[in-house]
Subunit: 235 residues, 2 copies
């Protein structure tokens, strides 16, 4: 087996999914090891002694490359960049020139820093707050993160509209006329919005280019394979 990918037991968060999608896209084999959420169990826990030796941050995903001396790296953003640098010699997923790389990075960091954390907080406030605090999240907490998620969606919508004008609908990816790490980073987060939209009170169909984008990428063979195996349905 080429790689080991660590994820949480029972629930695949969007960040480990980014890595699974991209490993499939690159045609690379991997086994999955799962860890118990919020657990300090030495062998099984995501906060346990064994896993903390591999990932000092105690979160998933982490990737081990068994064909590179068991080289180990965590943070989904760093993992995607590593995989692209090592296993995509044509640089189609990261850009061929410095300037192309910078624009791929621009949308990649927008996703990782401006999109995921905001949507993650919206998820928490609507899906997990009640369990943790035994009351509903205050309305200004929810609306702050929902408003910002909607703002982020409008930025994607504008970009995908520009890309559609440039390349046509079938080839409208975030940066080029084909997917890059920016797209693989955005996919599971936008998919979750399609899936949990009702509960989050986010209507993805208000962003027609984003909605078409989700319908398009779930048909990529790499993505479809992972979603089918994990029995995840976005739409």
């Amino acid at each position: 087996m080429h790689f080991t990918l660590y994820a949480l037991e029972g629930i695949w968060g969007p960040n480990p999914l980014k890595v699974a999608f991209f490993l499939e896209q690159l045609g690379l084999d991997y086994e999955v090891k799962t860890l118990a959420m919020n657990s300090t169990d030495k062998e099984k826990g995501v906060k346990g002694e064994d896993y903390l030796k591999i990932c000092a941050n105690g979160r998933t995903p982490t990737l081990i490359d068994h064909k590179n001396n068991d080289f180990t790296v965590w943070e989904s953003g760093a993992i995607l960049q590593y995989l692209a640098r090592k296993y995509d010699p044509s640089s189609q997923y990261t850009g061929k020139t410095l300037e192309e790389q910078a624009i791929v990075d621009q949308w990649f960091f927008f996703q990782c820093t401006g999109h995921s954390p905001v949507q993650g907080n919206l998820h928490f406030s609507k899906l997990y707050w009640q369990d943790k605090y035994h009351e509903e999240a205050p309305e200004n907490v929810v609306s702050r993160f929902r408003d910002e998620t909607n703002r982020v969606l409008s930025v994607y919508e504008g970009q995908l509209q520009r890309q559609t004008e440039k390349y046509g609908e079938e080839k409208a990816w975030l940066v080029f006329d084909h997917p890059t790490v920016s797209d693989f980073s955005a996919m599971p987060w936008l998919g979750s919005l399609a899936k949990f939209g009702n509960k989050l009170a986010i209507d993805l169909t208000q962003y027609p280019h984003v909605f078409k984008y989700v319908k398009k990428y779930i048909q990529l063979p790499s993505v479809a394979k992972v979603l089918e195996r994990l029995q995840i349905t976005y739409l």
Copy 2:
């Protein structure tokens, strides 16, 4: 002038500061253009028509490279990577091998995705919530982000302790025995914690290696120059 760097008028957030620190470190000249916060003024506003043509996300920083056909890139993470790739031919700030690059990226993404957004939310809940909502932030909102900021600090503390054991205190940077983009990314955020610690109820001295790290990096000539020019004091 080599570069134009966009920041907000009157308040330099940590993300534009990352870029200013790193431009100085590379010995590159830049002029600063400031934008009005929350404003849709066509010429002056960060959400105004002129700036949105440059940065579709309507946030700062954005960098224009006048010696590269006015090439324009936004997102502080993407800007640091662009500057390093183009103006650091020795790759000292990003790593010389694929594996070094991956570990620099690992701490870089940890900072940009796991640290900034959490601390940013803590800032908001303690420094801006009252102004926006005319009441104090609910205690579980504050404690959620404060607890996670403390957890992130403990991850830095462990890493800086390991680096101190390996390289000695003077050379204990996040990845190597010299600073990388990961360090320039972490600096203004950890500096803000030193500065606003009282208001945020975060005691940085509880993390002795992190505290020494802040004392060390503010003495880098590049960082000291920016802080002095902007009259910012962290400690």
